[in-house]
């Protein structure tokens, strides 16, 4: 088992002929992901790597290939439009890797996706991987190992660091999800925690948060009230100054509740084991399992 993606994932790549899209499409195919279609307007009829058919529209691609998941690598200026198109075509799971979508665009995208019953992961995220089964996005497959730990994170490379710690010390992962560093995202910590709680294979969850907003506090409340599986948490940005945006559009301390100290306290109170540094992840998991 795993969450969101597995062997049944039939993936469509929006922007498959672009620089990032083509590079990562190859990586995903090599990993074993079923990449069934690509979409680039104007390039319909071509084939990618002489194996994946390219279509002009998502609707056409879905009709011809029964794709059920889409990953978006198109430039920021057209990324919101690509999400609308995927939702319109009935794609159930949309993963948007693209960074730099204006937040006001997302205020219109999110209700639209929600009304169509689709799930959006991201934007501005590394995507997700169910090791040994399917990889959608840009998480390097080589650092992951199949196993029982669920990982959910707002970050990219910091997630790789934690996965690396887990894999090299014998803790494989059921699924690793990067939910994205933007203020408005389609899938939050709670959605992932609930899915991991329901997943028979997952035995414990690692959540990696950062400064800004109150998502980690809301997640802590959910863990406290609903979850039986142990959770280990990390918050990046203990040394971040207030009022400065730390790279991610969402990582800015505005108001007391956005600080790392406040979030770590909330996690602790909810019974989550809180790491002080990435290297604490395995020792804390061992304590809890």
């Amino acid at each position: 088992m795993s969450i969101f993606i597995d062997k049944s994932t039939r993936l469509l790549v929006q922007g498959i002929t672009g620089r990032d899209g083509s590079f990562h499409a190859k990586q995903m195919i090599e990993y074993g992901t079923k990449v069934v279609a690509g979409v680039t307007p104007g390039k319909g009829g071509q084939s990618f790597e002489s194996s994946v058919p390219v279509f002009n529209t998502v609707a056409e691609a879905v009709q011809q290939t029964q794709a059920n998941t889409s990953v978006i690598y198109v430039p920021a200026a057209v990324a919101a439009s690509a999400i609308f198109e995927a939702a319109d075509a009935g794609i159930a799971l949309i993963i948007c890797i693209t960074e730099g979508i204006p937040v006001l665009d997302m205020t219109r995208v999110l209700p639209y996706v929600h009304e169509r019953g689709a799930r959006l992961i991201g934007p501005n995220c590394p995507g997700l991987i169910s090791p040994g089964k399917s990889k959608v996005g840009i998480i390097p497959g080589g650092i992951c190992k199949p196993g029982k730990i669920g990982v959910v994170s707002r970050s990219g490379t910091l997630t790789y660091e934690i996965i690396h710690q887990l894999s090299t010390q014998g803790f494989g992962q059921s699924t690793c999800v990067g939910i994205g560093g933007d203020p408005l995202i389609g899938t939050n910590f709670i959605h992932c925690l609930a899915a991991f709680e329901a997943d028979a294979e997952t035995t414990a969850v690692v959540m990696i948060g950062e400064i800004g907003g109150t998502d980690e506090q809301l997640a802590a409340g959910f863990v406290h009230e609903t979850m039986k599986k142990p959770v280990v948490g990390f918050i990046a940005g203990q040394t971040a100054p207030p009022g400065r945006r730390m790279g991610h559009a969402g990582a800015i301390i505005s108001g007391a509740s956005g600080t790392a100290a406040d979030k770590m306290a909330a996690l602790q109170q909810a019974g989550i084991s809180v790491m002080k540094r990435p290297a604490d992840v395995v020792p804390l998991l061992k304590e809890r399992l």
């Binding site: 006001l104 209700p111 650092i143 490379t157 990046a236 040394t239 540094r277």
Partner: protein
């Protein structure tokens, strides 16, 4: 990107919101000429991207044009929260009967633009929220329908009993909401929204922040950027495609990815050091970016050691290694450097570094410990 008060006032004025007159001066003589033209009392206000201008002495009342010139002379060039004042706004001093607050922010939890109004205006809204939260009225706007007239009027009555004033405030709220989507603002505040003794409602002071992701498609807004209002190193970093924030410590950090960059800074602190900066070289790998990054880090005289922490994914470790080698050829480093590098093309990177006489570590904790020790002048 933050806009200056005078720029925000211009945007509101163009939307049809009543804004009292005011003009910008960059020299005391200009301030004097503007004050003369307005006649009577004027306010001279520092135009700088920092709160608390009044407390810092950046807002002064002048009874005459002479006084306006003197105030402008004092304010221009002064430093408020580390930022130098290059411009002042000169505006006729208004007679104020009441002060309120109207603001719109994009709220992460409801995932909607939220309109906030409060009859307690003229002070920081966070202060109102902390002390008298019941004085703030909030409304999450559904962007599919926009702000309904009855919603705006309802909030207008939360500010004013008089129906004319409530309607005027509601009209301002509608126009402010339009301005948010028209300019790509992540925050738009009128504080204070004032009533004058004759009963008119006006936006006296405004603050607008633009979502950086909007700037590419809005060249008219990008043109409002005041590069002189930014710290020079941060400006250089932005132009090189890097995200850089200067801090007060002495371990210079160069990392790929914002989350890992923050975690690296935190680990520097954990091992008893202080990070000199936040620096994210971003996802795409390009040796030139690394050269720019090293140039920016080494321009800070407080930096006593440099720490690279690279986890290759999209970023290729060999590109980073090439950048390090290229940079150290262009400008030899005066402080010790510790390199931690792992992930995509790690082996090639290690070879490149070895040939140039550098060693690379694979463990993050070990690298941070060494960088802190070297900054303190100890052998690791």
């Amino acid at each position: 990107m933050n806009l200056h008060e005078y720029q925000a006032r211009d945007i509101l004025r163009r939307q049809g919101i009543p804004v009292p007159p005011g003009e910008v001066a960059t020299t005391p003589a200009e301030a004097r000429a503007i004050a003369q033209r307005f006649g009577g009392k004027v306010v001279v206000k520092a135009q700088v991207h920092a709160g608390g201008r009044g407390k810092a002495g950046g807002v002064k009342l002048a009874k005459t044009a002479d006084e306006a010139e003197a105030h402008a002379k004092a304010i221009l060039g002064m430093t408020i929260k580390g930022l130098t004042v290059h411009k002042v706004l000169v505006a006729p001093a208004a007679d104020i009967a009441s002060e309120s607050y109207v603001g719109i922010i994009v709220d992460r939890t409801s995932q909607r633009p939220v309109l906030m109004v409060s009859p307690a205006g003229g002070i920081d809204i966070e202060e109102v929220a902390a002390k008298t939260p019941d004085k703030i009225h909030r409304l999450a706007i559904d962007p599919r329908y926009g702000l309904f007239p009855h919603q705006a009027l309802g909030l207008g009555f939360a500010l004013y009993r008089d129906v004319k004033q409530a309607r005027a405030a509601a009209d301002i709220m509608q126009k402010l909401y339009t301005a948010v989507y028209a300019t790509g603002a992540s925050l738009a505040e009128i504080n204070p929204l004032v009533t004058t003794p004759d009963g008119t409602v006006q936006a006296l002071d405004a603050k607008i922040s633009i979502d950086d992701n909007e700037l590419e498609r809005r060249p008219d807004i990008e043109a409002m950027r005041d590069a002189s209002a930014e710290a020079p190193a941060e400006l250089a970093a932005r132009e090189a495609g890097l995200t850089f924030i200067k801090l007060d410590g002495y371990v210079g950090c160069c990392v790929n990815g914002a989350g890992l960059a923050m975690a690296t800074m935190d680990l520097v602190k954990y091992y008893g050091g202080e990070p000199a900066n936040f620096l994210d070289i971003g996802g795409s790998s390009n040796p030139q970016k690394v050269v720019s990054a090293l140039r920016i880090i080494t321009s800070d005289p407080n930096v006593k050691s440099i720490l690279f922490n690279i986890f290759g994914g999209i970023t290729r470790a060999d590109d980073v290694a090439n950048g390090i080698v290229q940079a150290t050829r262009e400008f030899p480093l005066k402080v010790p450097m510790v390199i931690r590098l792992i992930g995509t093309n790690e082996q090639i990177a290690v070879e490149i570094l070895k040939k140039a006489g550098f060693t690379a570590l694979t463990d993050m904790d070990e690298a941070v410990k060494q960088a802190v020790a070297k900054a303190k002048g100890k052998a690791a």
